[in-house]
């Protein structure tokens, strides 16, 4: 056994923030288990990234380096990391819970006879891993049975990247055996869904609408509220899927990440995928008929009530206040 390994992910030529959060989670695990934390960097031409990673408090940085690891494919990553872990036999492997990790980590764990504990938001004594259930309404505490490697992925924003201390790690290279015939999928170049004309990321005020609005005909209700507040209008995924607002106004893991001074969530229950896109907001107000909706977990102010009554009343009150 060889301690805790964090699998890092780059984005746009730099380490992604959530990768550092995964390192922070690994250190938290290490403090319980008294194990060294090392980092794995799968990809091609990762010298400069590895040098950046080596300035952090890590026992080792290993570049899993192969031309066939760029661009990402599930086959390439699963084969390469499987070879490394079979040799190294880690106690724990920690991933950032990204779309890419969701695409291969379950298969990688299964290849080693293991099951990934995915989308973890906290690590308690044991270790016990907390993840959300029922769309965030409940928390579940998970435990690994202790034999073999325990695979964990951590949710964006759940651990603090800035707690990772500086250090000086050695950099090594591992070259996996990969053959072109083993890569069965052919990925295309990433493209944007639509021309981005709205930058919600820089908006000061956002009114965001969810399923609770029920019908396209009800959308003017929230448009008027946004107008009265001088806010950009945004939405959770179902609203954009239905075509009631363009996808560029979608907030959440598949849309934009926002951090306005005020985020007013109307009829949004607060599924995890939405919360990761807005929980950095300075002030969150939620209007929802369900007092147990997870959106209230992250709200500073809440109104439990029928949005079809509350929103018009709020629009009037805001107009009056601004006169």
């Amino acid at each position: 056994m060889s301690g805790i390994w964090v699998v890092l992910e780059e984005r746009g030529g730099r380490m992604s923030r959530i990768s550092w959060e995964a390192v922070a989670a690994a250190h938290q695990l290490a403090s319980q288990a008294n194990l060294p934390v090392s980092a794995l960097l799968p990809g091609a031409n990762t010298e400069s990234l590895a040098a950046e990673v080596a300035t952090k408090a890590l026992a080792k940085v290993v570049r899993v380096e192969h031309a066939m690891l760029s661009p990402y494919t599930s086959d390439g990553f699963t084969i390469a990391l499987h070879q490394f872990f079979e040799k190294e036999k880690p106690d724990y492997v920690v991933f950032p819970h990204t779309y890419q990790v969701r695409d291969y980590a379950p298969a990688l764990a299964a290849r080693l006879g293991q099951t990934l504990i995915g989308d973890v938001i906290a690590i308690e004594q044991g270790p016990a891993f907390t993840r959300q259930l029922m769309q965030g309404r409940l928390s579940g505490s998970y435990r690994h049975n202790g034999s073999g490697t325990c695979f964990v992925s951590v949710q964006s924003g759940a651990f603090r990247a800035d707690t990772v201390a500086a250090g000086s790690a050695s950099v090594e290279t591992f070259t996996p055996n990969l053959d072109a015939s083993q890569i069965r999928t052919k990925p295309g170049e990433p493209f944007r869904g639509s021309a981005q004309t709205v930058d919600l990321g820089s908006a000061q005020f956002i009114v965001s609408v969810g399923r609770g609005i029920k019908e396209a005909e009800n959308m003017p209700l929230v448009q008027e509220l946004a107008g009265a507040l001088g806010a950009e209008l945004a939405a959770s995924r179902p609203i954009c899927d239905a075509g009631w607002l363009p996808i560029e106004r979608q907030v959440g893991s598949s849309g934009q990440t926002v951090a306005p001074r005020l985020y007013l969530a109307v009829g949004i229950s607060g599924a995890i995928q939405h919360l990761v896109g807005m929980k950095g907001s300075q002030c969150v107000v939620a209007i929802n008929k369900d007092p147990e909706a997870p959106i209230f977990e992250v709200a500073d102010y809440g109104i439990v009530g029928d949005l079809f009554e509350v929103v018009p009343a709020l629009t009037e009150a805001l107009k009056a206040a601004k006169q």
């Binding site: 599930s74 086959d75 990204t98 779309y99 969701r102 695409d103 291969y104 379950p106 298969a107 764990a109 006879g113 099951t115 504990i117 995915g118 959300q132 259930l133 029922m134 769309q135 965030g136 309404r137 409940l138 928390s139 579940g140 505490s141 435990r143 690994h144 049975n145 034999s147 069965r184 999928t185 052919k186 990925p187 295309g188 990433p190 493209f191 944007r192 869904g193 981005q196 179902p238 979608q250 598949s254 934009q256 001074r261 005020l262 929980k279 002030c283 107000v285 977990e297 709200a299 500073d300 102010y301 809440g302 009530g305 029928d306 509350v310 009343a313 709020l314 009150a317 805001l318 206040a321």
Partner: protein, 256 residues
């Protein structure tokens, strides 16, 4: 094209859930159940592929007797037949354990394509499809919004983070996990509901499939989530609450 769609019955989206007394799961007694959302999109994708290219759509689900109603719903929407893996102990299985069960049921069918929803609305593991691909030694792609059949296999549109997408080519047979929202869902017609009653529903038990329930990972206990913030709930009727909120935004948050 022979397509297997693996679906799951989950509590209805707005259902009030209560933790059971051993704190291992929720009280199932008076819950309303329905088809998992992204599984509904997987089924829709399968039905559209069949309409374009011919073939057969087989629905597969594992669980106790109650899931029969959700399987019938899928048949009423247009699936040709169904396989129900009878199991009262799914809760004792982890994601790998459930996938093993489904894979054992899929293997003898030799499908051209296996579809599942991206993630379940209850446990939310989001792993079943990807593990199925591994267990069946098939290529896969996840978070798929559109599927197009090509001469050599499939061309699929995959969702990436932050508003990006990519197309992926892969050969068949393959496994895809389908993201919600890629197409418009159909309703079951009266004729469909009638026909569903006569469609084949095969029952297999977990024991017949020879897959034990050994788990690497156990759900020890469930609880209500820790509050991340203290929420001030503003009381009163709509007008009073709205007025109170404007006061707070003015004097506490100071954004007005």
């Amino acid at each position: 094209m022979k397509i297997i769609v693996a679906i799951k019955q989950v509590p209805e989206r707005d259902a009030q859930v209560h933790i059971d007394s051993p704190k291992k799961w929720i009280e199932e007694g008076d819950l309303q159940w329905g088809l998992n959302e992204s599984d509904a999109y997987a089924l829709e994708e399968a039905l559209q592929l069949k309409e374009k290219h011919g073939g057969e759509v087989v629905v597969l689900s594992a669980g106790p007797e109650r899931i029969g109603s959700t399987i019938r719903e899928a048949l009423a929407k247009g699936a040709d037949r169904a396989i129900h893996v009878d199991s009262d102990e799914l809760g004792a299985r982890d994601a790998l354990g459930v996938a093993r069960l489904l894979a054992a049921a899929i293997k003898p069918e030799n499908p051209d394509l296996v579809l599942t929803g991206l993630q379940s609305d209850d446990l939310g593991y989001g792993q079943t499809g990807v593990i199925l691909a591994e267990l069946l030694s098939l290529p896969h792609a996840s978070l798929i919004l559109h599927v197009e059949k090509t001469d050599s296999g499939l061309n699929v549109k995959r969702e990436l983070e932050e508003g990006w997408f990519q197309n992926i080519e892969l050969p068949t047979p393959a496994v895809l996990t389908i993201q919600s929202g890629g197409s418009k869902l159909r309703y079951a017609t009266l004729m469909g509901i009638k026909k569903a009653k006569t469609k084949e529903m095969k029952h297999i038990s977990a024991a017949e499939l020879g897959v034990d329930a050994k788990a690497n990972v156990a759900l020890d206990q469930i609880s209500l989530p820790h509050k991340q913030k203290t929420t001030q709930i503003l009381p009163g009727n709509a007008k009073e609450a709205a007025a109170a909120l404007v006061e707070k935004l003015k004097f506490e948050v100071r954004v007005l």
